[in-house]
Amino acid sequence: MLIAARDVTKTYPTADGPLTVLGGVSLTLDRGETLALTGESGSGKSTLLHLLAALDTADAGEIEVAGAALSGLSDAGRAALRREKIGLIFQQFNLIPSLDAGANLAFQARLAGRHDPDWCATLAGRLGLTDVLSRYPEQLSGGQQQRVAIGRALAARPQVLMADEPTGNLDEASSDRVAALMLELVAETGAGLLLVTHSERLAARAGRRLHLSGGRLAGAGTHARGAAE
């Protein structure tokens, strides 16, 4: 079990009183599994991803990622978990603008202290980035940037990959290409993938999907297999 979340609750204070974004969400993700998390804007899916990625802490409930209970971790512990066990892909790509594509791709692996040049080269090849590795992010197209981000997330061989609207900033064609590549590589590395998206197209590619609505999983407890199968 890569991810096990039980009764996760998150509330934000607002001017009109506390706003419950997540109200008791439970889910699991197995090794090699791809899980798409869909929902409307404001349904809480990004919040859930942030909690699972140890970027934020839940108010109640238990989350276990790669065998570690998040509630027991310090800030540094959560950082270590992100560094070593999780690969993150953002909608905004979030590349480091002052580093070239190659350095960005290898970045997390270096940060985690397990840089493997061969693996990075392989990733770059598979992602079609070999010719643009010395370019800086601002010189890359959106699709290229997101492929660099995917490479970065995979370079450290994480146990679980979490992607937040990875194709949200891409046109349809590049979106498809990027999604295909991502799923292909995840399958090859045997990592688990948690995919947050509002795109049906993309969600349909996942092995399993959950729908979040108003902070709760629709049909909680059902483990419906994806339509793609």
Binding site: H50, Q92, S98, L111
Partner: protein, 809 residues
């Protein structure tokens, strides 16, 4: 992990070398000016300490014979009686075409160590003592003079050695050589009474009747007198440092802003916050050390360049002797580095704090750099207003120089903090009056840029205000001083008699020629408890006609001539709180009512004037040696001078005409403020750099704002021109704000700081032409600063503008 993260953070600078250069330059400049001032102050203080510690010539009591030189027999008689005294022979002598050289002869064997050239300590090896003590002898002079004398010294002069510790214009040598150089064999001017006398000695009156003991200058007096000058310099140094810190703060803040995304990504990818902050801190430290080292080096260069002027100032104004050569002190360098580090940390503090608290999840939405909300602007202006009020209140509730500087600091900082709000209001006013859409956009866009430029504009205003304030002060002083010189130097010639015979010769000459004669004598005394000078004068209508009195009682000159009253200078009156009618203590058991107060610029010490006979009744040693001569009608000063030199034993050097004295006084004056002027220019230069860097920084962030305007049909060149116009407008507005501030600063300097520091108050004059020049300069600087980004904008490829729309989120 650390290395990878650090490499990522530092890669920012590689991509933006200009920003790095800005940061380093700002910090280096700030450190340089600060360190330079510190080095100068330290050098001066060290030389005061040296002088105080070694009891140089001026610190020792001395024996003199009123009106006559002493002879070697006097020295020998005192020595044989057990009085440890050391002879001094002084005089001026003409050498070649240059100004006359003052020769100071001491007995190298018995003189107090503080009076000896430092070079003498190095005589150990290979030097024959015979060189020092026998003809032709050895003399020491500052390097420049030594060089001149080597070319032009008369035959029979001692061998000249360069010694940077000897005050410029002076030759220090053994008395045996000095009496030949001055053609005064066997004569002695003063016998210094050395410290550490033997147990029992016969009384002075028994050994050497007719000699008078003159008190030495009090130890520490120089340090006391000059402390205000050094405080002045320090204040300037701090101002420069503050201006520099504005740049650093801007550059570091920008760097932090621009790296928000990177920072967030690093956090998301698993870099712990503590490590991240530590890395950024280390980065600041390294940058500060690099910039600090450069700044210290630059500061040394600046200090070395300014020191001769400072030394001249201190000598001219206070008679303090400071070598014109800078020594290097590692402690000073370390302090400079520490200052750079502290400054950088202060400047970076806000940015680091923000990073530490930056939520990792905050949406990566781009923020305009240092966007300041209206509320923040008002809050800042409120703080500024508090500072203004506190500054103005300082001299009202507390006295002293500290309060004066508190006033200046309150004015400058308070005004700087209120500047953004004032500019914003002015721009809003402009926008409200604008009718055409482009004009409206121009005003609005300018206002939108204000937050990004406000730091630079604040720095500019500080520099401008300081410049206006200081130059108004110096200009006012110069005007007052020249007018005062004209009044005070009313006689045509000034002659100094070396002996009673010479004095008689001058009297005889004046009588025979029908020239007016104004003899004066001076004695050192305690005036109202503090050391000062009493000047004895003889009655002459010229005094009533020209002497610059600030306030007086009725019949002032008559009463003074009768010995019934005294005049005191402004310094003494202010220090002791005296007004006409009050009694002033002139020594033990002697006090006279004050008949008037005269201005006495350039003299840091208290002084009183009384009738010569009254002075001589109290101080028998007060023999008139200085004479002012007024040429009779029909005789020119030059002719009178020639006749005086021809018909009396006086040498050329002993007679100076009025024009020459004025020229010397004004030269001293100019040098006095040369340092202030130099620091002024440097501060302005730093502000210019601040402006440039701020504009350069903004330019890179302005594309999103300019792209829509461009899309709506404005050419890039036009946009560039508009940007330049915008910079000029902001500079002009800033100048408009700086002008009243500068005048307030000038007033504070003239009416508060100068009074506290020097003891005189000067009327304020205005110099509108200087302002015009300064306005032109600041607009030109702004244009120049805007030129680079404007040209870059004009050349920005349309694709870049398009990208703005593509990236629009």
């Amino acid at each position: 992990m650390t290395r990878t993260a650090l490499a990522a953070l530092l890669s920012h600078w590689r991509r933006r070398p200009g920003q790095l250069a800005t940061l380093l330059m700002g910090l280096a400049l700030a450190t340089a000016l600060w360190s330079a001032v510190q080095a100068i102050n330290a050098e001066a203080r060290a030389s005061y300490d040296r002088a105080a510690g070694e009891l140089g010539l001026s610190g020792l009591d001395a024996l003199v014979r009123p009106g006559e030189p002493l002879a070697v027999v006097d020295f020998v008689a005192l020595r044989r009686a057990g009085w440890l005294v050391s002879p001094v022979l002084e005089g001026r002598v003409a050498v070649g075409a240059g100004p006359p050289v003052s020769v100071l002869g001491v007995d190298f064997l018995s003189a107090p160590p503080g009076a000896l050239p430092a070079g003498l300590a190095g005589l150990g090896e290979g030097e024959e003592p015979a060189l020092l003590f026998t003809a032709p002898g050895v003399a020491f002079a500052a390097p420049a003079l030594a060089e001149r004398l080597r070319q032009a010294a008369p035959a029979g002069w001692p061998e000249i050695r360069a010694d940077a510790a000897v005050p410029p214009g002076q030759v220090l040598t053994d008395i045996g050589a000095a009496e030949r150089m001055l053609a005064r064999p066997g004569e002695i001017d003063r016998l210094l009474i050395l410290p550490d006398q033997p147990r029992a000695r016969p009384p002075l009156a028994e050994v050497a009747p007719g000699l008078v003991r003159e008190a030495g200058r009090e130890q520490g007096e120089i340090a006391r007198l000059t402390s205000s000058f050094h405080l002045n310099l320090t204040a300037f140094g701090l101002l420069s440092f503050a201006v520099g810190l504005f740049i650093v703060h801007g550059a570091i803040g920008l760097a932090v802003e621009q790296r928000r995304g990177t920072v967030r990504t690093l956090r998301a990818l698993g870099l712990p916050t503590a490590r991240l902050v530590a890395l950024l801190l280390a980065e600041v430290v390294v940058l500060a050390l690099v910039a600090g080292a450069a700044g210290v080096a630059l500061g040394y260069v600046i200090a070395a360049a300014l020191l001769p002027d400072v030394a001249a100032t201190l000598r001219g104004l206070y008679g303090a002797s400071v070598p014109g050569v800078l020594s290097f002190d590692p402690g000073w360098a370390a302090a400079g580095l520490a200052m750079a580090l502290a400054g950088a940390l202060v400047a970076a503090g806000q940015g680091l704090w923000r990073v530490a608290r930056l939520p990792v999840l905050e949406a990566a939405r781009p923020r305009a750099w240092a966007t300041v909300s209206g509320r923040a602007l008002r809050r800042q202006a409120g703080a500024g207003a508090v500072l203004l009020v506190a500054g103005i209140a300082a001299p009202l509730v507390a006295g002293g120089l500290g309060a004066g500087f508190a006033l200046l600091a309150g004015l400058l900082l308070g005004a700087a903090l209120t500047l953004p709000l004032a500019l914003s209001a002015a721009l809003a006013l402009g926008a409200a009056r604008a009718r055409r859409p482009l004009t409206q956009w121009f005003w609005a866009d300018t206002r939108q840029q204000l937050p990004g430029l406000s730091l630079a504009l604040m720095a500019l205003m500080l520099a401008l205000a300081a410049n206006i304030g200081v130059s108004t002060m110096v200009g006012s002083f110069r005007l007052t001083f020249t007018g005062w010189l004209d009044q005070r130097l009313a006689a045509d010639l000034y002659a100094r008699a070396g002996s009673g015979a010479e004095a008689e010769a001058i009297r005889g000459f004046a009588e025979a020629r029908g020239a007016g004669l104004l003899p004066t004598a001076e004695v050192e005394a305690r005036l109202d408890g503090a050391p000062g000078t009493i000047r004895g004068i003889t009655d002459h209508p010229l005094y009533a006609r020209s002497w610059p009195l600030l306030s007086s009682a009725p019949e002032v000159w008559t009463r003074v001539a009768r010995g019934e009253a005294a005049l005191v200078n402004e310094q003494l009156a202010r220090r002791a709180g005296l007004a006409p009618g009050d009694p002033v203590g002139l020594g033990p058991g002697w006090a006279l009512p004050i008949a008037g107060i005269y201005s006495d610029y350039g003299n840091p010490r208290g002084e009183a004037m009384v009738a010569l006979p009254a002075l001589q009744a109290r101080f028998p040693q007060a023999v008139a040696r200085d004479f002012g001569l007024v040429a009779p009608a029909g005789t020119g000063a030059d002719a009178l001078r020639a006749a005086l030199v021809a018909e009396t034993p006086l040498t050329e050097g002993a007679v100076i005409d009025q024009a020459h004295v004025k020229q010397i006084s004004l030269a001293v004056f100019e040098r006095t403020f040369a340092v202030t002027g130099a620091l002024n220019v440097l501060t302005l230069a730093v502000a210019g750099v601040a402006m440039l860097t701020a504009l350069l920084t903004l330019a890179t962030m302005r594309l999103p704002q300019l792209a829509p305007v461009w899309a709506l049909g404005l050419t890039r060149a036009r946009l560039g021109r508009l940007d330049m116009a915008r910079s000029s407008l902001l500079a002009a507005l800033t100048f408009a704000a700086a002008l009243p501030l500068g005048l307030a600063v000038a007033w504070a300097l003239l009416a508060v700081v100068n009074v506290e520091a020097f003891g005189w108050r000067l009327p304020m004059h205005l110099f509108p032409r200087d302002w015009a020049v300064l306005l032109a300069l600041s607009v030109a600087a702004a244009l120049l600063a805007a030129l680079v980004p404007a040209r870059r904008l004009a050349r920005t490829p349309p694709a870049a503008f398009l990208k703005v729309f593509a990236d629009e989120r």
